[in-house]
């Protein structure tokens, strides 16, 4: 049986990141696009933690902490924007929102 080492985690993170990026490029619902961004961020977090363990360095986990904070802030502002847009135009998708004016 193959031994479990860092490469397994990194490959899994690469897969999650790829799925997230493909979803971000194909989906049109802004909410689902945000979820795909969350997937990508989580894949990167997993990579950080894996390297933190492999290189025996706690700094990797500190970076993950900051990534989570930034992700939370991003979601709050992004959902605020989406709510503001959807109030004005029901059922808008990412392709409809192409003008930078109200």
């Amino acid at each position: 049986m193959l031994a479990l080492n860092e490469t397994w985690y990194l490959v899994l993170a690469a897969m999650i990141f790829t799925i997230g990026s493909v979803g971000l490029l194909t989906r049109k619902n802004p909410l689902v696009m945000f979820m795909c961004v969350e997937l990508m961020l989580n894949a990167v977090n997993l990579t950080f933690v894996t390297f933190s363990k492999a290189l025996d360095d706690i700094a990797g986990q500190a970076i993950v902490f900051f990534v989570m904070v930034v992700a939370a802030a991003e979601v709050v502002v992004g959902l605020g924007i989406i709510v503001a847009i959807m109030r004005r135009r029901q059922g808008a998708n990412a392709d409809d929102i192409s003008l930078l004016r109200g």
């Binding site: 985690y9 979820m35 363990k53 706690i58 902490f65």
Partner: protein, 226 residues
């Protein structure tokens, strides 16, 4: 080792199925629930690698707060209807996206698998995880010494995000009535108001003397007029 491998494979399957669900399912609510599965799987992988604090944060903040926020917005906007995935507005968008995905995966897998089973890079000498202290203590130590400035900036960022969200999602109030704000300085306006009140007072006094009513009744009239 066998248990670790089993846990990893099971969790990896959950993660991949969850992320596939986020991309492929049509209903936004199902997407959000798939996202929970992936986030939970990543939390398990964090625990497996000794990042206990981050695993707890992952479950509490991500699965607990962020996904709930997503669900709130989905319900608030009423967009929990299936989205037609068959319409492709930009010609060739989907094949191009899949090609980009294959390229990203191919590149990263090549980079990962070509170096062999060990991670390259310099092992830490300063912030080593020696296992003598709990994970939370080690993380707190580095967070409040080396990264304390970043930590403070983080608090500013969160405040800005909250204020921004309030400003963005606030409903616009009624337009300001210009008649309510006549021209002139505040002092002038107050003076005019004071003069008007004085004139009114004089009129009332005149009325009171003309009618020759008792003091108490005059006051009552005055109050009623006001």
């Amino acid at each position: 080792m066998r248990v670790e491998m089993f846990t990893f494979l099971l969790t990896a399957a959950i993660c991949l199925a969850g992320s596939a669900g986020v991309v492929l399912l049509r209903n936004p609510v199902h997407n959000a629930l798939s996202l929970v599965a992936t986030l939970f799987g990543v939390a398990v992988l964090f625990i497996q690698q000794g990042a206990y604090f981050l695993a707890a944060i992952q479950v509490i903040v991500y699965a607990g707060a962020i996904v709930i926020l997503f669900l709130f917005v989905i319900m608030l906007l009423g967009v929990d209807k299936a989205e037609g995935l068959d319409r492709d507005p930009i010609l060739g968008q989907r094949p191009a996206a899949i090609a980009a995905g294959v390229a990203i995966l191919g590149l990263s897998l090549t980079a990962l698998l070509s170096v062999g089973s060990r991670v390259t890079g310099q092992a830490s000498t300063l912030a080593a995880i020696d296992g003598s202290e709990p994970n939370i203590n080690a993380l707190a130590k580095v967070l409040f010494t080396d990264y304390v400035f970043a930590f403070e900036i983080t608090s500013v960022l969160l405040t800005v995000a909250v204020v921004g969200a309030v400003v963005l999602s606030r409903k616009a109030g009624p337009a300001i009535d210009v008649a309510e704000f006549p021209e002139g300085t505040t002092a002038d306006l107050l003076q005019a108001k004071y003069d008007a009140a004085a004139v009114e007072q004089e009129v009332l006094e005149e009325v009171a003397t003309e009618d020759e009513t008792p003091e108490g009744e005059a006051e009552t009239t005055e109050e009623a007029l006001r």
